[in-house]
Structure formats: structure tokens, C-alpha cells
């Protein structure tokens, strides 16, 4: 597994006799950005917990090179520490004071939070908190970043900004990333490879590779096409929807234009 940093082979997991993950095999190469998509509660978080070593798989094997760093779905910042202290936790213990301070200011600069270094998490916005978590996770060298629905609690606008932010961060600090989400658009905007899991128990049902530079806009052709294929795979295209009559669409477009010109 020369350039592979993570290899799951036929991994199964269950809680109290209920199968959660079934026969999951995934290879992840160094520097790859893999997004795992699946319905809420399908076992995506369990998969991350297996990768991080928090759970041991019931069956199958996992080989992992390097440490993992997790960004949690619930707020994982320590509320009694400032932004700077939280990020400092991520820096290697061995580094000396001067180089620690330098790295810290680099990281603060990276997530554009220099001015908030001495703020506490409760004093900044949810989007800023998420950036602090990313900076903390990226502070260590050569680790696999595990992101557990990191943006799911944010509003749509902030989510879009955070995706762009994450893409920029990774352009400056290459890292292997496994992100789980139920958001297909997020997957299409960020992933090198998208893996779709079914629910209960989770099985791998679909895989899609994307070769396009990041950041990508939701309206980029490659993103739209990826979403179309994912939705099609999930059987969600045109489900229960009837086509709007042409006439109605025009009326809507006119309304929209009118609203803009006011």
C-alpha cells in the first residue's frame, strides 16, 4: 500500500447485535479528499470512529498510516480556552516556545482569525468556531483529517463560504481528508472521490471520482454533473415532481427580474 494511507477491507460493525456497517472496503491515497455520503443515522460517524481507532471493527481489517484528527459534529472546541489556546493544543508538544508562537500565528492567519486570538469560543460565530476547529486539526503534521458533518449546523451561506475556506486551507496545507456528510452538493464541491453509503446497515453502493480543481462553485459544470449522477443513483431525480409548464417558468423569470430592477 505504497501511497495508500488508509485501507479498510470488508469492515463490518454492529452495536448490540444490530449491524451498522456491512462489508465496507475503501482505499484512500495520500492527499486524497474522500467524501462519504449517506442518509442521517446510516453509520457514517461510526465509520469515522473506526478510522480514528475509537471503535474496533467487529470484522474486517483496517490499516492506517499516521494519526487522525477529528472535527466533531457537535462543538469540539474547549469553551474554557481562547481561540489561540485551542489551536495551540494541536501543535506538536515537542516544539519550542518560539516556533510554537510562530506556527500559532501562521495558523491564525490561515483561518483569518488573528484578531480573535484571545476571544473565547462563546464570543465568536459558529462559522468562526468551525474555522478554529479546522486550524486546530491542521496544526499537526502528516495526519488524516476526519470531518464529521463539520458544516451541517451552519446556514447555507456560511456553509458555502466554509467549503471555499476548506478548499483554500487544503491548497496551502495538503492533507488527507475523509469528510462525511448527508449533503450531496457539499460532496460534489469538495471531493476527489465520493462514496455513497446506503442506510441500515450501511453498504457501499456507489463511487464517483472527480478530477477538477478546488474551490468549485455549486453551479460549476462538474459539480452539477456530479450531483445529477448522485441523485440519479439515489433515484431522487424527478421523483414526485411534474415539470413546470413553460409559460409558468417565464412568468417566474419575469417576476425575478422585476424584483431585481426595483
Amino acid at each position: 500500500m505504497s501511497d495508500k494511507v488508509l485501507r479498510l477491507q470488508r469492515v463490518c460493525h454492529s452495536f448490540d447485535g444490530i449491524d451498522v456497517l456491512q462489508d465496507i472496503s475503501i482505499d484512500i491515497g495520500e492527499g486524497e479528499f474522500v467524501v462519504i455520503v449517506g442518509p442521517s443515522g446510516c453509520g457514517k460517524t461510526t465509520l469515522l470512529n473506526l478510522i480514528s481507532g475509537f471503535h474496533k471493527p467487529v470484522a474486517g481489517s483496517m490499516i492506517r498510516m499516521g494519526q487522525t484528527r477529528m472535527v466533531y459534529q457537535s462543538d469540539g472546541l474547549l469553551p474554557w480556552m481562547t481561540v489561540a489556546e485551542n489551536i495551540d493544543m494541536g501543535l506538536p508538544r515537542s516544539t519550542n516556545r518560539a516556533s510554537r508562537a510562530r506556527q500559532l500565528s501562521e495558523l491564525l492567519d490561515l483561518v483569518r482569525l488573528e484578531r480573535f486570538a484571545n476571544h473565547y469560543p462563546y464570543q465568536i460565530s459558529p462559522g468562526m468556531r468551525q474555522r478554529v476547529e479546522l486550524a486546530r486539526a491542521l496544526a499537526g503534521e502528516a495526519s488524516i483529517l476526519l470531518l464529521d458533518e463539520p458544516f451541517s449546523s451552519l446556514d447555507y451561506q456560511t456553509r458555502l463560504l466554509m467549503r471555499r475556506e476548506l478548499a483554500h486551507l487544503l491548497a496551502r496545507r495538503a492533507s488527507t481528508v475523509v469528510l462525511v456528510t448527508h449533503d450531496i452538493e457539499e460532496a460534489a464541491q469538495l471531493a476527489d472521490r465520493i462514496i455513497v453509503l446506503s442506510g441500515h446497515p450501511a453498504r457501499k453502493t456507489f463511487e464517483l471520482s472527480l478530477e477538477a480543481a478546488r474551490p468549485r462553485e455549486p453551479t460549476d459544470e462538474v459539480v452539477v454533473e456530479a450531483m445529477r449522477r448522485l441523485l440519479n443513483h439515489l433515484g431522487l431525480l424527478n421523483v414526485g415532481l411534474t415539470k413546470q409548464p413553460e409559460r409558468r417558468k417565464d412568468a417566474l423569470a419575469k417576476d425575478a427580474l422585476a424584483a431585481v430592477s426595483i
Partner: protein, 252 residues
């Protein structure tokens, strides 16, 4: 102009004093059983001039202060230890609960037998409820720390003493401070009762002394001081909740 937060309580206080004067003038109780506001003000003057009030206040505050400090220093580490380890918790928590439920006043006979009269028995009587209340609150606070903080600690290699210093203790601090306010309230009540029977000075002794000397005016003076100091003690400890690194615990 006075804000409502000042004007309303002052108005309530004046109304109370007026009602008190009215009851006195109606002679519901004999003059020796209920002093008038004027007599009490005169009593205050007497207590302040003689220096007794200041000395009693200092004695009571000293005992409560020492009792709370010793109690906190002992209870917080003990509570953290109980909170972190299942075995000691299972073995000792029922006993801690038993002693917390036991009225500290029940210890008065032993306090006098063991420590005689003076500061020591009173401090002992404050230490008892302070220690057990704070221990229980700290242990419970540890049990309530969200799992994610320990996951984060594990991700970043924080272990043992660093775990205690960086995670467990700061995570419980807001609840410890809340318990400390509660404990200070208990201690302030206990000190009065304890000094009545095992003191030579202090506000509680002053209350008892006034009763023995049939000086109802001085009795009321001391009661007013005890009440006011109780409020001020809580206000003072409330400042701790404004410390930036614990404020997160109160904003939900």
C-alpha cells in the same frame, strides 16, 4: 434619577420599616419583645461605638472564610478523584451523601467535646457541610462533562495530569463555583448557630448575648447585619462567574 432596580427595593424596605413602626405603636408585643426602628438605630450606634460589631463581624467572617477555603481545598480534589474513578465513587459516594444530608448542627456536641470553645469548633462545623456539599457537586460535575471533550483530549494526546489540568478541572469549574455559592450560604447560616453555643464572640454569639441580656434592640441589629452580609457574600462569589474562562458555563 434612580433606576427601578434601586428604587423598588428601597421602597419595599421603607414600607417594611413603616409596617414595623406601626406594629410597635399598636403595642402588639411588649416593648422588650419588639424594639422600634428608632431603638434599633440607637443600638447600632452603641454597637459600632463600642467596637463590638466590627469585632464580631471580623470573627464570624474569619471562621467562614477559613472553613470555606479549607473545605474547598479538600473537597475539589477529592470530588474530582471520585468523579474520575468508578471504584472509589461506588465505595464512597453513599457515605458522602449521608454526611451531606446530616444537618451540620447535629455535630455541635462533638465539636465542643473535641475542640472546646472558640474558633476551632465553629470552623469544624462549617467545614462539615462545606466539604460534603462541594465534594458531591464536584463529583457530579465530572460525571456531566460531555464526552466530546475527552475525545478531543485523546485526539491531541492529553493524558493524566494534563487531562486533569486542561480538561476535567476547567470543565467542572462553573459548576464548582455554583456549588461554592450554595456552600457559602450554608456556612453563613451554620456560623450563627455554631457561635451561639460554642463561641465567645462572633455575630451568632452577639445574638445569643443580646437575648441573654434582654437587649432586643441589639438582637435586631445583629440580625440585620447577618442578613446583609449573607447577601453580600453571595454577590461577591457571583463575581467569580464573570471570569472569562468560566463564563461559558452560565450562558445556555
Amino acid at each position: 434619577m434612580l433606576g427601578k432596580s434601586v428604587a423598588l427595593p428601597v421602597a419595599t424596605g421603607l414600607a417594611g420599616v413603616a409596617a414595623w413602626s406601626l406594629i410597635c405603636s399598636l403595642q402588639f408585643f411588649s416593648a422588650s419583645a419588639l424594639p422600634s426602628p428608632v431603638e434599633v438605630v440607637a443600638g447600632f450606634g452603641e454597637e459600632i461605638r463600642s467596637g463590638r460589631l466590627a469585632a464580631d463581624l471580623a470573627a464570624s467572617l474569619y471562621r467562614v472564610g477559613i472553613g470555606l477555603v479549607l473545605g474547598t481545598l479538600a473537597a475539589v480534589p477529592f470530588g474530582l478523584w471520585l468523579g474520575c474513578y468508578r471504584g472509589p465513587r461506588a465505595a464512597l459516594l453513599p457515605a458522602v451523601n449521608f454526611f451531606r444530608g446530616l444537618s451540620p448542627l447535629a455535630w455541635i456536641p462533638f465539636a465542643i467535646l473535641w475542640f472546646g470553645i472558640g474558633d476551632a469548633p465553629v470552623i469544624f462545623l462549617i467545614l462539615m457541610p462545606a466539604f460534603f456539599t462541594l465534594t458531591l457537586a464536584t463529583a457530579a460535575a465530572v460525571a456531566n462533562i460531555p464526552d466530546v471533550y475527552f475525545r478531543v483530549a485523546a485526539d491531541y494526546g492529553i493524558k493524566r495530569m494534563a487531562l486533569l489540568r486542561l480538561i476535567t478541572f476547567p470543565a467542572t469549574l462553573p459548576q464548582i463555583i455554583t456549588a461554592l455559592r450554595l456552600t457559602a450560604g450554608i456556612a453563613w447560616m451554620v456560623v450563627v448557630a455554631a457561635e451561639m453555643v460554642s463561641g465567645r464572640d462572633g455575630l451568632g454569639f452577639a445574638v445569643w448575648d443580646a437575648r441573654n441580656g434582654q437587649r432586643a434592640d441589639l438582637l435586631v441589629c445583629n440580625m440585620i447585619v447577618i442578613g446583609l452580609i449573607g447577601v453580600m457574600l453571595d454577590r461577591l462569589l457571583q463575581y467569580l462567574t464573570r471570569v472569562r474562562s468560566v463564563r461559558w458555563g452560565y450562558e445556555r
